[in-house]
């Protein structure tokens, strides 16, 4: 176990070096540098429009719709992103976007099956895999439903399940080190029970080796679970470290440009409030 932990700390799952993003004349992000190791659960915070989603989209390497220019180097598992084929990339990094909609009403189990379209496996193993993930995300009773009849929070869990199914070899208990999960506000539509469920699952998966980068506005929700926090402001990273060290009055003031109070949480570190 100690050995595998050592391995984990030495593998760079993601490296971002001097990334700079421009759209037309507008500079969106500049001078972004950070490295993600296996098993890290990183929260990205920042005010609206500070470039969180832009950062995530350049990490996805599928910045097709937006005409943003990206400079600098982004490597996944020490290989530059542009050297990957999409099929290859899909097995080591999965993305859950904020807004997803299709005009076609797929059944939930069909969407989850699509996530494993590139995996060759007998159908009973595939069903076991899908059932396992949907169990973990409380989707069991929704599998036969049409996605268009689900509520926003239910859909969010379906799309998270889809992203997970894309990465896992056969079950959530597998070693996921080296793989990267990119999430854009995965809990924005969830009720309190499911917020906790999702966060606990993500934390468990990151302990199993999965690297997670998660954009969230709900700092208080994610702080107890994440291992590291990046705060974006002024087109760059203004703070990077363990959440308890990052969340200081000064950083919050610089980031959100308003006075916020920091309270001590009885169980885990700090708690931000107005």
């Amino acid at each position: 176990m100690a050995n595998s932990n050592l391995d984990r700390q030495s593998t760079n799952v993601l490296q971002v070096e001097n990334a700079k993003v421009k759209r037309g004349e507008r500079l969106l992000l500049a001078n972004i540098n950070f490295t993600v190791k296996a098993g890290e659960f990183i929260a990205i915070a920042g005010e609206n429009g500070c470039g969180k989603s832009t950062l995530l989209s350049i990490l996805c390497a599928a910045d097709t719709a937006q005409s943003a220019l990206v400079h600098g180097e982004i490597c996944i598992q020490n290989v530059p992103l542009k050297h990957y084929k999409v099929q290859q990339l899909a097995t080591i990094r999965a993305v859950m976007c904020q807004h997803q909609s299709s005009p076609f009403g797929f059944f939930v189990d069909e969407i989850l099956t699509l996530a494993r379209h590139a995996v060759i496996e007998p159908s009973h193993l595939r069903h076991a895999c899908i059932a396992g993930v949907s169990e973990a995300l409380d989707l069991r009773h929704l599998l036969h439903r049409n996605i268009q009849t689900l509520s926003g929070g239910e859909r969010q869990r379906v799309y998270l399940a889809k992203a997970l199914l894309q990465l896992i070899p056969s079950s959530l208990e597998d070693d996921l080190s080296g793989k990267l999960l990119l999430l854009d506000e995965p809990t924005s539509a969830l009720d309190l029970r499911h917020q906790k469920l999702v966060m606990a699952l993500l934390a468990k998966l990151s302990q199993g080796g999965l690297s997670i980068i998660c954009i969230s506005h709900d700092i208080n929700l994610i702080t107890p679970y994440c291992t590291r926090m990046l705060v974006l402001a002024n087109q760059g990273v203004i703070a990077d470290g363990a959440p308890n060290q990052v969340l200081t009055h000064g950083v919050l003031k610089q980031c959100y440009q308003t006075d916020l109070h920091l309270l001590k949480h009885p169980e885990h570190g700090v708690f931000v409030t107005h």
Binding site: T64, A90, E110, H127, I130, R140
Partner: protein, 375 residues
């Protein structure tokens, strides 16, 4: 865990079973419709009796059995056999295949542009074909060029239509192609522009055309299956088989694209490549269908819709279902077009539009709100 797994397997099995049942049902309906199509028309034909009589004739011929047949029935049997084997049968087969081709192309197009209202006509395929055909009929008829061999003269309009369709799609693709591949919004807008342009060409050509050519043009733009023969049926059969195999092999790619292009790329699909492949396959199918039979609207639009309400949206079942229902719908429409005002024949395009348009409105009425934007 295992319980959830069994339940999931049950859902999937039940759905597959229902879908298979649906496909069988439509296959039987198609067979009945084809049979009716063969027997009905300006001459009533008893297909079974005719086939048995023919086999008996062959048998007698082979074994030298002489029969006492009155000359009268012999003649009538021969005529009937000719109508059956050389006119009706190739026509019914070609009609079904064209229906399958158009419906599959429509189904692919709708998945590709993620719009259940899309139609291959939308990106200018039929418009380009119609404009080129109109030009060939009114301005450059085959008879004007003495060097054209008669064999080519008979398919002269078809060649023009095919090239016109390809040219229109090339133009549309040229405008909608960017560094990131084909943009769907630009594709549709360019299609609208090309359709307007081809409409202008058809209008201008019609204005200068002779009465004869004008009649030909209007007949062609309304679609007709009257020129069917075994050669054409064979061409359509081969195209249909190849196109269907190609599209069916891309069923997962279509499903992924239906989720969204960005999504599909994240999930490991080479979006650019598949989009191009599908577009060209669809273009080829529709261009061929239009070249052979003129413009037959609404099949590509309505059939995938009907199938989606019955079979769900998974292209694994939707593609074969569309092909079947398209064949069924067009063969039924052809029977109607021949028998409603027999012996006069109504252009098939008018029948499909007359059935398709109200039905489509009905579908929209039923699903009111689904297309009004928000989820």
């Amino acid at each position: 865990m295992t319980q959830a797994c069994t339940r999931l397997s049950q859902y999937v099995a039940t759905r597959q079973q229902n879908n298979r049942r649906g496909l069988w049902l439509f296959s039987v309906a198609l067979a009945i419709s084809m049979y009716l199509s063969v027997t009905n028309g300006s001459i009533e034909i008893n297909a079974w009796q005719l086939i048995f009589a023919h086999i008996e004739g062959l048998y007698n011929q082979a074994f030298g059995v002489t029969q006492q047949i009155t000359a009268n029935t012999e003649l009538s049997n021969a005529t009937q056999w000719y109508v059956f084997a050389q006119l009706r049968l190739p026509r019914v087969i070609m009609t079904s295949l064209i229906g399958a081709l158009l419906a599959t192309a429509g189904c692919t197009m709708q998945g590709l542009v993620r719009n259940p209202l899309a139609d291959p006509g939308l990106i200018g395929i039929s418009g380009g074909a119609a404009a080129a055909a109109a030009v060939s009929m009114a301005v450059m008829p085959a008879s004007a060029f003495s060097f054209i061999p008669p064999a080519m003269a008979s398919i002269w309009v078809g060649i023009w239509a095919f090239l016109g369709a390809l040219a229109a799609v090339l133009l549309v693709l040229k405008f909608s192609n960017s560094a990131h591949g084909v943009s769907v919004a630009a594709l549709i807008l360019a299609g609208v522009a090309i359709n307007a342009f081809t409409g202008t060409i058809i209008g201008a050509v019609s204005y200068v055309a002779s009465d004869d050519a004008l009649r030909q043009i209007s007949y062609w733009t309304m679609g007709s299956l009257a020129g069917a023969n075994w050669n054409k049926a064979l061409i359509v059969a081969i195209t249909c088989a190849l196109a269907f195999a190609g599209l069916f092999s891309m069923r997962n790619a279509l499903n992924l694209l239906a989720l969204g292009e960005g999504e599909a790329a994240y999930m490991g699909l080479d979006v650019k490549r598949y989009k191009k492949r599908m577009l060209w396959l669809v273009t080829f199918c529709v261009a061929l269908a239009t070249a052979l039979c003129g413009i037959i609207g609404f099949v590509g639009l309505v059939v995938p819709h009907i199938c989606r309400t019955i079979f769900g949206v998974n292209h694994r079942i939707l593609l074969p279902a569309s092909a079947l229902v398209g064949a069924l719908l067009l063969s039924a429409a052809d029977t109607l077009s021949r028998s409603l005002f027999s012996p006069m024949e109504i252009p098939i395009g008018i029948v499909t539009s007359a059935i398709g348009a109200p039905f489509f409105l009905y579908l929209l009425w039923q699903q009111k709100g689904v297309f009004s934007g928000g989820q």
